[in-house]
């Protein structure tokens, strides 16, 4: 392998990391405020909700499927959790919210598996329609009104801790993300079930013939995605202290963006949650930089759309 090829492979493998470095250096040069402790803490805070949703999305994509219902799950579980605080107490509400996420994930899996949608393309439609159902259910549940944490009578210290608590200067939500990511990484690479999820993603028919219960693995993947999305929702509303029934809008595209930019292939079977962390980092950094540079949110969504298209294009060329 000559030098040119080696440089080329290095660039291809570490494209995200390079982009992150370039982005950090460029922004720091243009806007000195970028490298202050306040902004870095702020950056880690912004990491929060999307990172959890993206972790769930990574696992679904590695499992060969995709979950577009995360937007609906985030909205519905957020309004549901807030409404449960006065009924079940804060710990109960937290658990109820996560259970609701798991239940929606299970419903996704049931719908997708029962109609025999064995490919990602078919799961796309089903989960997108499910997202519409969940979002509408959230609107129906709250009658369209935004739920405020300040209107609750029970204590909400737990949620405040998750949303804006800090250990030293590192936000609690960031630490939680790190722990969950580590556990998921071990699960995917070191346990039999995790390996089976990867195999299912690589070739579902072959894996089925070997005797792996693929349907159960698909269900597991969707339930994990549901729970993690619900957790992302909890982190989100804990920070902003309100939950509108439209809270989760666009989360599916942002999560897919983070996963694909990180380098997990949409073809399934390959990728890792650690790569997704890089992807989330890039997406968060990008909006932070654009914010600091004073660029409108509308242009930011244009940029995200362009990056999503290009990332999928590069992924496709790589797997071809």
């Amino acid at each position: 392998m000559n030098t040119k090829e080696r440089v080329k492979t290095f660039l291809q493998e570490n494209l995200v990391l390079m982009t992150i470095v370039i982005l950090v250096v460029a922004t720091a040069l243009i806007e000195p405020k970028f490298l202050t402790v306040a902004n870095l803490g702020n950056l880690m805070n912004q990491f929060g909700p999307l990172s959890f949703v993206a972790l769930g999305m990574t696992i679904t994509i590695i499992g060969g499927y995709i979950d577009l219902s995360v937007a609906g799950i985030v909205s519905l579980s957020a309004v549901f959790t807030i409404s449960m605080v006065d009924v079940l107490g804060q710990t109960g509400a937290l658990l109820a919210g996560l259970a609701a996420g798991a239940l929606m994930g299970l419903l996704n899996a049931l719908v997708v598996v029962s109609c025999g949608a064995l490919t990602q393309a078919k799961a796309l439609f089903m989960t997108y329609a499910l997202s519409a159902v969940y979002s509408a259910a959230a609107l129906l549940y709250t009658d369209g009104a935004t739920q405020h944490m300040s209107h609750l009578t029970s204590p909400t210290t737990l949620f405040k801790g998750i949303g804006s608590g800090k250990a030293g200067f590192i936000p609690v939500s960031f630490l939680l993300f790190f722990v969950i990511m580590f556990v998921l990484h071990l699960f995917l690479t070191r346990t039999q079930t995790g390996r089976e999820v990867q195999l299912t993603g690589a070739n579902i028919t072959a894996t089925d013939m070997v005797g792996v219960p693929v349907k159960k693995r698909v269900a597991l993947v969707y339930v994990l995605s549901g729970v993690l999305s619900a957790f992302g929702a909890i982190v989100l509303f804990s920070r902003i202290t309100t939950a509108s029934p439209l809270l989760g809008a666009n989360y599916e595209t942002n999560a897919i963006l983070a996963v694909v930019v990180g380098g997990t292939s949409l073809a399934g079977g390959r990728g890792s949650v650690i790569r997704t962390m890089l992807g989330v980092m890039l997406v968060t950094l990008l909006s932070n930089c654009l914010n600091l540079l004073g660029i409108s949110t509308y242009i930011q969504s244009v940029c995200k759309g362009i990056i999503l298209i290009i990332a999928i294009w590069i992924d496709r060329r790589r797997t071809k």
Binding site: G116, A129, A137, S296, W313
Partner: protein, 318 residues
């Protein structure tokens, strides 16, 4: 069991028509203003734009693709027309907007057909991009049109008291039906959707034809955007938010399958009509908007489920 299977098979074939008849029958028992000429004509008038969107999308779906950027394209093209109207004659502004739509379709086609990426996510990303542009141009505010001639395009009744939109829709219906039914381009679309590899190996220019369907779909979405803005006399970045899902799924309701190669313009027409009729019935019965959304979501989900299930059985039979 045998009887059950046969009934299921018949409903599968004509599910949209059956649903329409069922709804029309049910509305006889409620004392509403449903059965008035005004309501029925108005329903058709408001369905016209979605129907025309569906004609373009049907071409794409028959070729085995899917386009979720139509909603954003629709709202953007209306805004473009209204913004350009101040600087150039009306017809030029409209042509420019349609050209933009064709361009977006061309880009979609490049990624989806030429580079063989997943159409769903690419067009979803494209929708996000277009909506961002629309918001940037208008600062997320609705923009009113000042030209009276523009408003008249969609709001007058030139032929025998029938609203213009309905006339345009019928003309488009005939054009698209003829394209799919009687031209080699249309017949090749079915071949490509049926089996892409077989089609391209038997000498059909599969890439070009499938690419062309995306361009036509984009241009059609832009055309619909012009009509919508003309009808409401404003352009806004929020118009197309839920359009893509309901139009794409409306085609499937009628029997155009996401598997590709199955269906046609009349089927899509009936499918979307069924969805519009459902909405109209629920409005007439005074059902709240949120419950309507839930119902629509569940119905779309059911239809997709049946579509997938039918595909599964088809592949098992082979």
């Amino acid at each position: 069991m045998q009887v059950f299977k046969r009934i299921l098979k018949e409903i599968e074939k004509q599910k949209a028509l059956a649903a329409i008849l069922l709804m029309l029958f049910m509305m006889l028992f409620f004392d509403t203003r449903f059965y008035t000429a005004y309501n029925l004509l108005d329903m058709l008038n408001s369905a016209a734009i979605l129907e025309m969107l569906a004609f373009g999308v049907t071409l794409v779906i028959i070729c085995g693709g899917v386009d979720f950027s139509i909603g954003a394209m629709m709202s953007l093209s209306g805004i473009i027309t209204i913004k350009l109207m101040d600087y150039m004659p009306l017809w030029a502004a409209i042509l420019a907007a349609i050209a933009c739509g064709a361009l977006v379709g061309f880009v979609n086609g490049f990624f989806v057909v030429q580079q063989k990426t997943e159409p769903f996510i690419i067009t979803l990303g494209m929708g996000m991009l277009l909506k961002g542009i629309a918001q940037q141009i208008t600062d997320a505010h609705p923009v009113p049109a000042k030209n009276l001639a523009f408003m008249k395009i969609a709001n007058s009744r030139l032929i025998a008291g029938i609203p213009n939109l309905i006339v345009i829709m019928i003309v488009m219906l005939i054009i698209f039906y003829c394209i799919l039914r009687f031209t080699s381009f249309g017949r090749n679309c079915y071949a490509i959707g049926g089996d892409y590899n077989v089609a391209s190996q038997s000498g059909i220019k599969a890439v070009k034809i499938k690419w062309a369907t995306f361009v036509i779909c984009g241009a059609m979405a832009a055309f619909c955007g012009v009509l919508l803005s003309s009808k409401l006399n404003t352009g806004s970045s929020i118009y197309g938010d839920a359009t893509a899902l309901s139009v794409n799924c409306g085609c499937v309701v009628g029997g155009t399958s996401f598997a590709g190669g199955i269906g046609g313009i009349p089927q899509s027409f009936i499918g979307l009509l069924a969805i519009q009729l459902l909405e109209n019935c629920m409005n007439m019965l005074g059902i709240s908007a949120y419950i309507q959304q839930v119902c629509e979501g569940i119905i779309i989900l059911l239809i997709l489920w049946v579509d997938n299930y039918a595909q599964k059985r088809k592949s098992e039979a082979v």
